[in-house]
């Protein structure tokens, strides 16, 4: 119990941030038309690639061969997630461009 209270006290700013972000995410998404469900999922997937920052930090401070190998793998996979995610989303959205109306 004491640990929980201490944790909340020490990390109060982070906890504020998390809770506000949750509501923000729900608010930002909730009025999306069905047409955009797939691109939105794909875009959100690209954003989750932000975990790559952690991978860079690991590889950036890696000393043993094992941690260099793991770090390299993590940065590579993370880049795949980010680059692939954004590129695929862009490709999907390219098709939604307004076309001149035919009569």
């Amino acid at each position: 119990m004491e640990a929980i209270l201490e944790f909340i006290y020490v990390n109060s700013e982070t906890i504020f941030g998390i809770i506000l972000s949750i509501f923000l995410g729900i608010e930002v998404i909730s009025h999306v038309p069905a047409v955009l469900h797939t691109p939105l999922m794909s875009g959100a997937n690209a954003l989750s690639g932000v975990v790559i920052i952690g991978a860079i930090i690991i590889l950036g401070h890696a000393e043993s061969t094992f941690s260099i190998v793991m770090g390299f793998l993590a940065v590579f996979l993370g880049t795949l997630n980010v680059v692939g995610g954004f590129a695929v989303t862009d490709r999907m959205l390219e098709m939604f461009k307004k076309k001149p109306k035919k009569d």
Binding site: S21, L24, G25, L36, G85
Partner: protein, 484 residues
């Protein structure tokens, strides 16, 4: 005020540190803006671009300014090597893959994110703050965050890979009731194991590494078995759910590093993914719990009633029927995607409009393998927005429709969802094709849909079937209409 001054006296910060925090804050704002813009058709593409800029900023800022224990980021050669390799491979995959494979691709990329979170958790476990352990033993929040990141990350990784394999067709559904119990036991084992590890008291985390690897193994296995029994109709829900899992792990890693960009980005994806998942479940009138337990289509207890006979129609007859109709509704499904028949469907609708026939497309929210899958495909073929009608709207007008053309759809037009309480899809909203005056079903064969249940629509008096690959049959129908 005094408090603040005293506070600033006690911390030492450099210009670089504060600039990096500002960059992260800025990146987080770009993420939010990008996501907001992504949810409107007009701004979506720019939104994606803005989110990407935020990501580039966050990565570049980390590379140049990040410090840990006074140490700057090293191993630059390796980092740039991995970045370049990922950039090239990612771009090639994203460009080369066909539009029909999009759902698989999203699932695959999502799995990559899960794997990264798993690796981070593994690597950071031995570095748990010594002081924290001194104070509280293993029972501290840092340990909990690392364990959760490890478990959720690895479930997201293997789960996404299985979803990818199932959509791609090289992994088949395994449906058995016992798997449900195995899954529940595994889940309990994971929770129990985490609790056990956290009760270890003051111990060097390195000594626990073998146990952590066991936890990793069990979690990876759970990811596989978690997605294995889930049927195709639920795949969109699963991908959406796993996507939000990855978001949560990114946020946990952000918490671990006190990194605002990761935290905000991750939480945003977590809540956005959860909302999307719930929207999907609502579209199918099912609870998330049911989806996770994998109950869908697993029963197969649906009563086999007398089905009647199948009537076929020739391409020529269909061309005549269509040309002399007033209103035609096309109901596309996964078969359209597989056959890549969206271009021909559009060709046909342009021809028919030329003859004064009104053509609309009725889009079921879960037709295909992802939410909005059909919209993406039809947009690829330049079908104008205003021709796409959501299923509720289409149903209102279905009585006036002369011909409903079902192209490669099955479960989303199955009347059992309304009539047969024993059917596994009972209660799911459908496109009520049965209300149209004529129903034409383009289908490859008499195979069942992804939910593996019989469809009475095909045996109805008003229904006629046109068997074959939708691309070939539509091609012939287009020719016939052209010649009339």
């Amino acid at each position: 005020m005094d408090k603040i001054i005293e506070f600033t006296k006690n911390i030492q910060f450099t210009l670089g540190d504060s600039v990096l925090e500002i960059i992260y804050l800025f990146a987080a704002v770009l993420f939010i803006l990008g996501l907001k813009m992504l949810s409107h058709p007009d701004t979506a593409r720019r939104g994606n671009f803005i989110a990407a800029i935020g990501m580039i900023l966050a990565i570049a800022g980390t590379l140049i300014l990040h410090k840990q224990g006074g140490q700057r980021i090293g191993n630059m050669g390796y980092i740039f090597g991995a970045l370049t390799l990922g950039l090239v491979v990612g771009l090639v995959i994203a460009r080369k893959v066909k539009m029909t494979k999009m759902p698989e691709l999203v699932s695959f990329f999502n799995g990559m994110g899960g794997a990264v979170a798993t690796i981070i958790a593994l690597m950071e476990f031995p570095n748990i703050d010594k002081e924290l352990i001194e104070l509280h033993g293993m029972l501290n929040f840092q340990t909990l965050v690392i364990f959760l990141s490890l478990v959720i990350g690895s479930v997201s990784f293997t789960g996404s890979m299985i979803a990818f394999g199932k959509l791609d067709g090289f992994i088949k559904d395994i449906r058995s009731k016992s798997l449900r119990y195995v899954n529940m036991v595994l889940l309990l084992a994971i929770f129990g194991f985490v609790a056990f590890l956290m009760m270890q008291g003051r111990i060097d985390p390195k000594d626990l590494m073998p146990y952590v690897f066991i936890l990793l193994g069990v979690s990876l296995l759970y990811g596989v078995l978690f997605v294995m029994p889930i049927g195709g109709a639920d795949m969109p829900v699963v991908i959406s759910l796993l996507n939000s899992f990855t978001g949560v792990t990114a946020a946990m890693a952000g918490f671990l590093y006190g990194n605002l960009a990761m935290l905000t980005g991750g939480i945003l994806v977590g809540s956005a993914g959860t909302i999307l998942t719930i929207l999907m479940c609502k579209a199918m009138n099912r609870s998330l719990f049911n989806v996770i337990i994998g109950a869908f289509g697993g029963g197969g207890e649906a009563v086999q009633n007398e089905l009647g006979t199948i009537k076929e129609i020739s391409e020529t007859d269909l061309a005549i029927l269509l040309s002399y109709s007033r209103k035609v509704v096309v109901i596309p499904g996964y078969g359209l995607a597989v056959a890549q028949a969206q271009f021909l469907a559009h060709e046909l609708d342009v021809l028919l409009e030329g003859k004064g026939v009104e053509v609309k497309y009725a889009i079921h929210p879960v037709a295909g393998r992802m939410p909005g899958h059909m919209n993406v495909l039809l947009a690829e073929a330049d079908v104008p927005y205003d021709k796409l009608v959501e299923s509720d709207k289409a149903n209102e007008d279905m009585d006036n429709v002369d011909v409903a053309v079902v192209v490669g759809a099955n479960d989303v037009v199955n009347p059992a969802a309304e009539e047969d309480p024993s059917s596994p899809i009972y209660g799911m909203p459908i496109v009520k094709a049965l209300k149209a005056k004529n129903i034409i079903v383009l289908k490859r064969g008499m195979g069942k849909g992804y939910a593996a249940i019989e469809n009475n629509l095909f045996y109805h008096d008003k229904t006629r079937m046109l068997f074959g690959n939708a691309k070939d049959t539509l091609q012939r129908v287009v020719k016939e209409v052209e010649n009339m």
